[in-house]
């Protein structure tokens, strides 16, 4: 009974992905004796099959298409994308890299109960959320070829994993609370030192030959206010493990928190669930200290949104 309860909570947490989590659900987990906590620190990571193992039959074609969409949705799922990002920008190595919310860490955990809406979401529904928020676009309808291909890719990648067991390396790491509260000015200093080289002084990233090489971190072409990366804890975990590119785990935890706060204290496209008022939208969807939506930072009220396409 207890175990069933725990996996339910874990599943609900895993859902807190491209859209908002229900942070209130976190508290009970800490009190539940978790067998995973005593596991050796360097738990063996699942190794997904090599890309060369994608079969060449009709199923394999869907897998390959899913991979292409994941790497370049602006080209292969254009109708559903509203910014300059790709799935791979936040799920590195085409969704294969541990601690970068890999697809093999998510696929075996669905369908999952969602505490916020009191319903059970399928994996496809979870993918829809990514298009709505992280990609600032539109959700492909259930059964759409884009969802079929992406789900095929995730299924293929997860071959041999147990169902309903969150594998080590899933999601982004959950960093311990910072020693001192995250701070904009310190975050700005980290940004200038360790991020601006690639993401630009203005955070708008860099392009070459019309392609996004370094993705924008805020502004019209980045993820919107409904995306999971908007929460400072998610961003801090991602940044700590994966940034600067190729130099993951070189920032201190404090630096990762500060720079995540700095990034998330910038304006971006409006939350598509916007109710017409910032305080009401905050109360409905951003009622957590991890979100700066509706907060005033540096004299700026956040959450006003910027137009997606000027």
């Amino acid at each position: 009974m207890k175990a069933a309860c725990l996996s339910l909570i874990v599943a609900a947490l895993a859902l807190s992905a491209c859209n908002h989590s229900a942070p209130q659900a976190v508290a009970p987990v800490a009190k539940t004796p978790a067998p995973a906590a005593s596991a050796p620190k360097k738990a063996a990571l699942f190794v997904p099959p090599p890309e060369s193992a994608i079969p060449s039959d009709d199923f394999g074609k869907q897998v390959a298409l899913g991979r292409q969409i994941f790497i370049d949705p602006g080209r292969y799922a254009k109708a559903y994308v509203g910014n300059a990002l790709s799935c791979e920008n936040c799920h590195l190595d085409a969704g294969r890299l541990a601690h970068s919310a890999p697809l093999w860490g998510a696929y075996p955990m669905y369908p999952a109960y969602r505490s916020k809406t009191h319903d059970v979401s399928t994996f496809a529904a979870r993918l829809q959320g990514c298009f709505n928020y992280s990609m600032n676009g539109k959700a492909p309808p259930q059964g759409d070829a884009v969802l079929v291909a992406l789900e095929s890719y995730a299924y293929w990648m997860s071959k041999g994993e147990p169902i309903g067991v969150a594998p080590p390396g899933h999601g982004y790491p959950k960093l311990p609370k910072p020693a001192i509260a995250p701070d904009y000015t310190r975050g700005e200093a980290v940004f200038k030192r360790d991020c601006a080289l690639c993401h630009g002084d203005d955070g708008q990233g860099q392009q070459a030959a019309g392609r996004t090489v370094f993705p924008p971190l805020w502004g019209t072409q980045s993820f919107n206010w409904g995306a999971g990366m908007e929460q400072v804890n998610n961003a801090a975990g991602f940044i700590k493990a994966n940034m600067p590119l190729g130099r993951g785990n070189t920032l201190s935890d404090q630096d990762a928190w500060d720079v995540a706060y700095f990034m998330d204290a910038h304006e971006r496209p409006q939350d598509p669930r916007y109710t017409g008022s910032i305080p009401a939208t905050r109360a409905a969807f951003h009622d957590t200290p991890e979100s700066l939506y509706g907060a005033t930072v540096n004299g700026q009220l956040l959450g006003r949104g910027v137009a997606a396409r000027p």
Partner: protein, 219 residues
């Protein structure tokens, strides 16, 4: 060897003809040097700035101004150690560095001499490193920083296409050995540390065999 001797001959000959006027004009520096330590750049980097593949003299034409300027600084301060270029860079004044960097950044990208075709397995592993990286060792793909097709990105990420296999391999070995440690955030030191000799052969010959993209649309 014979090649190097020819080059030093050119350098020596060009030296004789140097005019003493202080040259802060980029073209003059490139063609005649500055008369007090900087040999004419074109003796090694070729009159069109395309470099000399066999000798490992890099292409300078069309590289980002800020990148070229920084390299001259780095040779001079020793964070990029190289017996040939250090004395050249040290002898250039600030103004001369500005002028010559500006000059080369504006030269058109020269037509490329086609590199020899690759063996299949080498080509494959080169392409893999260039476009996918090797994330099991935390190694990003080269093009994630050097741009699609290795055309370069912005001021800080130089193009790889249009450089010779010899030069690319030389630089990767220089980072491995520590003689070049001028890269921001130690990005290239980390990349090079994760490459084997076979990887270096594969990636350098792969880039050298890529077609030169038409001059990238710089903003």
């Amino acid at each position: 060897m014979k090649y190097l001797r020819t080059v030093s001959l050119i350098v020596a000959v060009s030296y004789v003809g140097i005019v003493s006027a202080a040259a802060t004009d980029g073209a003059t520096l490139a063609q005649r040097g500055n008369g007090h330590g900087a040999a004419p750049c074109m003796a090694c980097h070729a009159p069109n700035g395309g470099g000399m593949a066999a000798a490992g003299f890099p292409r300078l034409a069309g590289l980002p101004d800020a990148y070229l300027r920084k390299q001259l600084e780095d040779f001079a301060n020793g964070s990029r150690a190289n017996a040939t270029m250090q004395p050249v860079a040290q002898s250039l004044s600030d103004d001369e560095r500005d002028a010559v960097a500006d000059y080369y950044s504006k030269l058109p990208v020269p037509a490329q001499v086609p590199a020899p075709p690759l063996k299949n397995d080498v080509a494959q592993s080169g392409q893999m490193l260039a476009t996918r990286g090797r994330w099991s060792e935390n190694l990003p793909a080269c093009e994630q920083c050097h741009g699609p097709g290795g055309i370069g990105v912005g001021d800080h990420f130089p193009p790889l296409v249009g450089q010779s296999a010899t030069y690319i391999a030389n630089e990767l070995h220089a980072w491995q050995g520590g003689s070049r440690h001028n890269d921001p955030l130690q990005l290239m030191q980390h990349v090079a540390a994760n490459l084997s000799d076979a990887d270096i052969t594969a990636i350098s010959t792969w880039y050298a065999a890529q077609p030169m993209a038409p001059k990238e649309q710089q903003p």
